[in-house]
């Protein structure tokens, strides 16, 4: 349906559905871009509260870019531009059962390299790449979220993959 049913989102059910549709993606976007130091969850909340306060002015089709821009700005206001180091969760991949110490050590080493390499990616590369690899989003979905072309997403992700592999080999 292309015609706008509502021209604003001041109804709570409408607001909630927008929240459910975008809040996780927004959270992941903020997380991969800025890391977890600056409380991406809080920023998501703040951004949606702002959306509610401006609900009369924001059309439903603009709501997504509103919260993404707002949350991004909230982050930028706080971030003293440091290198983002994503934390490494200590969840063990289930498929490996042969966990001898040497293997664990190698894994640890590999993950450290990966962590550093991820930090060295540009923000757009890291966001697109991890949204794809970890969150399982397809190029088209990412393109819609970030308001860029599929081709650009492809470029960012492939570039990120390339860079990561090179760095892991070198390190």
């Amino acid at each position: 349906m292309t015609k706008q049913l509502h021209d604003n989102i001041c109804k709570e059910h409408l607001f909630s559905s927008i929240f459910n549709k975008y809040s996780k993606d927004l959270h992941d976007f903020l997380y991969y871009k800025f890391g977890d130091r600056l409380n991406p969850k809080d920023k998501v909340q703040e951004a949606f509260v702002k959306l509610w306060q401006n609900c009369a002015k924001v059309r439903p089709d603009k709501a997504k870019s509103f919260v993404f821009t707002t949350a991004n700005n909230l982050m930028l206001n706080e971030v003293a531009h440091q290198k983002v180091v994503l934390k490494h969760q200590q969840t063990k991949p289930k498929m490996y059962t042969n966990e001898n110490p040497e293997f664990l050590m190698q894994e640890q080493e590999y993950n450290d390299k990966l962590q550093r390499a991820l930090s060295n990616l540009t923000e757009p590369q890291r966001v697109a790449f991890l949204m794809n690899r970890v969150e399982g989003k397809r190029f088209k979905e990412i393109a819609e979220l970030l308001d860029i072309s599929t081709k650009a997403v492809e470029k960012r992700i492939y570039g990120a993959l390339d860079k990561l592999r090179k760095e892991i080999k070198e390190l």
Partner: protein
């Protein structure tokens, strides 16, 4: 056969069909990619529970709602702030003391915040505070003034030489160089001089010249003579008479061989300088000559 980059891109986008998947698996870097992919999973973003987060947002929106109504109180706050500034300026300006000054040969009548009034003689200063008037009726006086005090709380006239406390209604205070005189015309007046209070009944007077208390006979007038443009003296040192004359006419005296401490009884008018000069010179057998603003007094 697709080239390597296309296969990898398709793999990234979860777009490989069976045939392509087989081809992808034969790539030399297949193991590398799989390992990277597996290890990447451990960098997954923190868990995010949309529904619990939504609850938080909705509850904070509901508390914010009151804040939104507060938003349009903001303009009122601004107005209130401006009002507060205006009020404080007004308050400050009323806090400031009110001052009346008379110059040589000038008299004035001042209405105090209550029904009391003050007649201020020449070359005198009266200071009081409008704001505190209800709490304490204090005026500071330099010079001479006649007070008509309406009933109310204690009324204090503070001078350099002493404080006059009023219980009743009409009295005159004269405080000049080394001269301090209070005459009570009606009611009751207390004079504190050197921490000692003297109460004056109607007709009583209190006079200190050069620090010495001088006894005076009963005053039988109902108002001080200066209110009728006349200065009256009863056994007052001549120098005090002369300085009063200087204040009333704005002239200077030069005394040639005259004892300025001799006592003078009499009066002079404020309206005619020649008659006034005669009034003060004849009784003491003096002659006077005028030169511009200076008057020279000599023995006959």
């Amino acid at each position: 056969m697709m080239d390597r980059e296309k296969l990898i891109l398709k793999w990234l986008n979860n777009d490989l069909n069976d045939q392509e998947l087989q081809a992808f698996k034969t790539l030399e870097d297949y193991d590398d990619l799989e390992r990277l992919n597996n290890n990447l999973q451990s960098f997954k973003a923190d868990d995010y529970d949309s529904s619990s987060e939504l609850e938080k947002v909705l509850s904070s929106i509901k508390t914010k709602k009151t804040q939104i109504t507060r938003h349009w109180i903001k303009p009122f706050m601004r107005v209130a702030a401006i009002l507060a500034i205006c009020l404080s300026v007004y308050y400050y300006s009323t806090m400031v003391d009110t001052t009346y000054i008379t110059d040589v040969a000038q008299k004035t009548i001042i209405q105090l915040p209550d029904a009391s009034s003050v007649s201020l003689n020449a070359k005198s200063t009266l200071v009081f505070n409008k704001k505190d008037w209800k709490k304490e009726r204090d005026v500071t006086l330099e010079g001479e003034a006649f007070f008509k005090v309406s009933k109310g709380s204690t009324f204090n006239v503070i001078t350099e030489s002493g404080t006059v406390t009023v219980y009743g209604t009409e009295f005159n205070v004269k405080q000049r160089d080394n001269y301090f005189e209070v005459i009570c015309y009606e009611g009751l007046v207390g004079v504190t001089h050197n921490d000692h209070e003297t109460k004056l009944k109607p007709g009583d007077s209190f006079l200190i010249i050069d620090g010495k208390l001088i006894a005076k006979e009963k005053e039988n007038r109902s108002t001080p003579s200066w209110l009728n443009n006349e200065s009256q003296f009863k056994s007052i040192p001549f120098k005090a008479v002369v300085s009063e004359f200087e204040r009333q006419y704005g002239v200077n005296f030069t005394l040639m061989g005259i004892d300025s401490t001799q006592l003078f009884t009499g009066s002079f008018s404020h309206d005619n300088i020649d008659i006034a000069l005669q009034s003060i010179t004849l009784p003491l057998h003096l002659t006077y000559s005028k030169e511009n603003n200076t008057i020279i007094l000599k023995r006959e």
